[in-house]
């Protein structure tokens, strides 16, 4: 077997892992979730979920990844097969490959919007569309959802191609030469831009003296003033668990893929904790201090609630673009904001391609460049459906199954395999191998009992609350239904191909493990 590539430096690894975790959700999803679910009171279930769900899963995924890497596997089918010698285990791992691949397909398109809007900000392309409705129309015409400023999807395609090329330049260069080098540059820059924007937002104060109550501090109050009555609502606890879960990019197979390039005795306890802490700092301190406070300062609380209810993109793309037209140096601030989102996006998307790259290299002996090229061509074919059928909910359908529901399924499956089938004693030794921080013994029991129970409750609740209505397409228009079936067909096809590849890959390689 070929020697696996390694991370060049620890700081590079942590920044790449943090780049994977820090995404659009830190800046757009978190503040909306906090504001909708009890403000400051939301942070109590949020931190509880962070301790009982996020930190344990972080350590579990890093451990599974490092363990798999030791056995020359960088994707979940091989990793599960090493942990559990059962014919079905590798097929369970296919969900990990499936999820990261599907998210990679549609996320790249969303990422291209941020690049486009960064360009439109600096060139003042949307300046003049200064109401929410006009701006929504501008965005819709860019996406091909409605008629308007853009008469075709050609501009959207140009930015999509640039985004895909940027992703693949990084991926071509490999782990240390591409992803690590890029993370070392992009994460500090993202951090500087985030802090800079936060300071700028705080300096705005009360932009319109005619409405003194519309100010940044009332925006922060909107997010942080606690509504303790919501603490007794189970939905708030599930929303907090969901936010913590999504923000750290667990359940995708990407953390494991990155961790597979660690050496046998490299620390994971402290590195995993550092990654989580960088992500939390960006989310709670920076993410909560930009979009909502500035929206409240310009539109007031009532309008911000309605904007937030329209979704994170309504807040991040539409409302903020209106605000950028009404502040000094708004085009530069807008450029920085969307570039920040682009960097947050690209450091995540390159991670999403990694499990499939590893899989092709390890199971089919593809060269690195061949694996990246094959995935690039596949991505470009599949993303067309997302672009062309966006208005029919194609992207939302992919996002619900791959980007929401199956993430929890993977997390639950992997923690059961790791803590219960592989065995908690061996799992604990694996987590603590080479550790630079003593893991409190309490986490032994949290990983074994509490985290799986937490995930199980989330999965049951979401199945009942959302998965069944989504599966039955409740409330969907007749026009959209064929496209939603199309999205499902694409997912089933991709999953079937992956299952077949796993079957073939194992036949070719006839793996024989020496588990220590």
């Amino acid at each position: 077997m070929k020697e696996r590539e390694r991370w060049n430096s620890r700081i590079g690894l942590i920044l790449a892992m943090a780049g994977n975790a820090v995404g659009l959700g830190n800046f757009l999803r978190f503040p909306v979730q906090a504001a909708e679910n009890g403000g400051g009171a939301f942070m109590i279930p949020y931190f509880i979920a962070f301790i009982f769900l996020a930190i344990p899963l972080m350590w579990v995924e890093w451990s599974i990844g490092r363990f798999g890497g030791r056995h020359h596997h960088g994707s979940l089918p091989g990793m599960f097969d090493c942990l559990w010698h059962h014919p079905i285990s590798k097929y369970l791992g296919s969900i990990g490959l499936f999820v990261s691949t599907i998210i990679f397909i549609y996320y790249t398109y969303i990422e291209s919007w941020t690049l486009a809007f960064s360009f439109f900000s600096i060139t003042k392309e949307y300046f003049g569309y200064d109401t929410i409705e006009e701006m929504r129309n501008f965005l819709g015409s860019y996406q091909g959802v409605n008629e308007g400023y853009f008469s075709s999807l050609s501009t959207a395609y140009i930015f999509l191609i640039i985004t895909i090329v940027a992703n693949f330049i990084i991926l071509y260069r490999g782990i240390s030469g591409g992803i690590e080098k890029f993370a070392k540059f992009a994460l500090p820059l993202l951090f500087i831009m985030g802090v800079g924007l936060m300071i700028y937002v705080f300096s705005i104060g009360t932009p319109n003296p005619e409405f003194p109550e519309r100010n940044v501090w009332n925006g922060l109050a909107f997010i942080w003033n606690p509504d303790f009555s919501k603490m007794w609502d189970a939905k708030v606890w599930l929303a907090a668990a969901g936010q913590v879960f999504f923000t750290l990019s667990v359940g995708m197979g990407t953390l494991q893929a990155y961790a597979s390039y660690l050496k046998e005795n490299d620390d994971i306890v402290l590195s995993g904790l550092s990654t989580a802490s960088i992500n939390e700092f960006v989310e709670v301190v920076i993410g909560g201090s930009i979009a909502i406070p500035i929206a409240v300062a310009f539109f007031g609380v009532a309008a911000t609630i309605s904007i937030a209810e329209g979704g994170a993109f309504n807040l991040g793309f539409v409302s903020l673009s209106v605000i950028f037209q009404n502040i000094p140096f708004g085009n530069i601030v807008g450029f920085v904001w969307f570039l920040l989102l682009f960097f947050a996006g690209i450091t995540s998307s390159v991670a999403m391609a990694q499990p499939l790259i590893s899989f092709l290299k390890e199971q089919f002996n593809f060269s690195h460049k061949k694996a990246v090229t094959v995935i690039g061509v596949g991505l470009f074919i599949c993303v067309n459906f997302v672009v062309l059928f966006l208005k029919h909910g194609f992207l939302d359908e992919l996002d619900y199954w791959a980007g929401t529901f199956f993430l929890v399924v993977i997390a639950l499956v992997e923690i059961i395999i790791f803590a219960w089938i592989f065995g908690m004693d061996k799992a604990w030794d694996e987590i603590n191998r080479g550790a630079e921080l003593k893991t409190p013994k309490l986490f032994y029991y949290i990983i074994k009992y509490i985290t799986p129970a937490y995930l199980f409750v989330i999965l049951i609740y979401w199945t009942y609350q959302e998965a069944i209505p989504t599966l039955l397409m409740s409330g969907k228009s007749e026009v959209d239904i064929p496209y939603l079936w199309g999205a499902r067909l694409m997912m089933v096809l991709i999953l079937s191909i992956l299952l077949w590849m796993i079957y073939k890959g194992w036949k070719i390689n006839k793996f024989n493990y020496h588990i220590d």
């Binding site: 009332n218 942080w224 606690p226 620390d267 939390e280 709670v284 007031g300």
Partner: protein, 39 residues
């Protein structure tokens, strides 16, 4: 509709910010110190 910052809101914001900043600072400090734990 507009709501002023309450004492509870400010306290929760400062507590949350302090917690994540402490966690961030602590993990960076430990990385820079870089000692392996005896197993």
């Amino acid at each position: 509709m507009e709501e002023k910052f309450t004492l509870a809101g400010i306290s929760l914001m400062i507590t949350a910010w302090s917690l994540v900043s402490l966690l961030f600072g602590y993990s960076i400090y430990k990385i820079l110190k870089g000692n392996k734990v005896e197993q």
